[in-house]
Amino acid sequence: MPEFIGLREAVGKYVKPGCTLAAEGFTHLIPHAAGLEIIRQRIRHLTLIRMTPDIIYDQLIGMGAADKLVFSWGGNPGVGSLFRLRDAYERGVPHPMVFDEHAHAAMANAYQAGASGMPMAIFKGYRGTSYPEVNPNIRFIECPFTGETLTAVPAHRPDVAIIHAQRADRQGNVWLKGILGVQKEAVLASRHSIVTVEEIVDSVDERQGGVVIPRWAVTAVCHVPMGAFPSYAEGYYERSNAFYVKWGDVSRTLPSFLEWMDTFVLSTDDFDQYLQKLKEHGYV
């Protein structure tokens, strides 16, 4: 049975300096509110894992929260670059980071292996590419039955997974619908999991469609309406494509990024205040 606590308490309790964190979401249901709370609490030296690091990881990296990034596609979807990620990679700004770079197939399999209690994932990947030359975590093994060469990558075993979902029920069962990404795998691969939700309802099950992550796999549930904004929650609100486009301008230079973060994130106490301030400035 998960604990029902506020986001500030959940982040403080489970996201420790130096820990390995997977805040997952594949365009949909990205846990933005939780990411901003990590920034407000100035938690640092994180190893961040994410298939598709986007704005919230750009913000964590730009604010200096991460020492390492494990990823497979780092861009602003449909818009272009993540400038804070690029600055970290190209110029070591705000500090040099370690990059453990993969392709999607490897990352998805690494989560699945972690969820399955396996030390590594086996699949057929990276053939003919330059990735094995630059990433020692990509290795090849021989199938003991067929002799075929297969690809191996280490399993993801994060200390904590954070996801956003549409609903949890009062027992703490979590319900997601729409594009599911690797959220279930990330939760099951991790020692602890924090789930922010749009709504807490009496009961959820798969007869309502969607996917349920049962309560005993969840550590903490936090009620954070709009907690995925500017990503979206199917059935609740649309992706704010306009915000993603705007982020390209905001994040282009370090000074304009820092000023924005100071105005909207560090000068607000929580996600509600942050959203309120975004509304006042015409972002929402």
């Binding site: 594949f26 365009t27 949909h28 298939m51 598709t52 990823f71 497979s72 596609w73 780092g74 861009g75 979807p77 449909g78 670059s81 993540l82 990620l85 690029r86 990679y89 190209e90 770079e101 993969h102 392709a103 999607h104 197939a105 998805a108 399999n109 699945q112 699949f123 057929k124 990947g125 990276y126 053939r127 003919g128 590419t129 330059s130 990735y131 630059v134 075929e148 060469t149 729409g178 594009i179 599911l180 990404g181 690797v182 279930k184 795998e185 904004f229 979206y232 199917e234 059935g235 609740y236 609100y237 649309e238 992706r239 704010s240 494509n241 306009a242 915000f243 993603y244 972002y283 929402v284």
Partner: protein, 260 residues
Amino acid sequence: MSSEIYTPEEMMIVTAARLLENDDVVFIGIGLPSKAASLARLTHAPGIALIYESGPLDTAPEVLPLSIGDGELSRTAKAVVSVPEMFNYWLQGGRIRTGFLGAAQIDRFGNLNSTVIGDYRAPKVRLPGAGGAPEIASFCSRTLVMLQQNPKTFVDAVDFVTTAGFLRGGDARERLRVPGRGPVAVITDLGVLEPHPDSHELVLTKVHPGVSQEMVFKATGWPLQTADVVGETQPPTAAEMRVLRSLRTAMPAGPMVGVV
């Protein structure tokens, strides 16, 4: 609207769309491939199955998604699967015919780069990275590639092989033991390139109307060979242009609150 008035990019999208068939099953990258696939579905290929790596299987978006995971894609899909299922069962399992990719760079053997320009450890430009591309190009039966053609994008050898084409040519790809045939056509704003059957070097097979071979040579970073007969693509029809220009990209002003 006259069918004779169109941009090079529109010519490119129309040409790519025509390479998709009604019974095709297509794994789609965002941007131009997404536009071309939607154009095909709304014109000659209504039966086409469109697949995006975020999970939607057989989707029919009415507005073009900005990202590969827009809600429009899951709402209009026959099924939405998890990302591990997408890459393992559907892609690696060999259930997808055509992979449809873009890239920042391509070389004479159809290898693609979307990772870095320059040295991997100290690049001039850090690009987003692989996403699904390496395995899309390995496990789809064939790959189509779309990108603008100029000396910066069409290079003799890519800085980083994000996605293997024919490596250094000849039978190098066969020796990789991947099921997919690799890039069968590269569609650009100037024409179409296809691999030579033996050397697997990309050769010019078609130019768009009004484009000279000389223009294509100048836009290519290696001494480009041509097919024995270089054809000319058909300009867009009025119907193709009507549909293409009616495609709108999803760009809501902000969130719309309300429970479905």
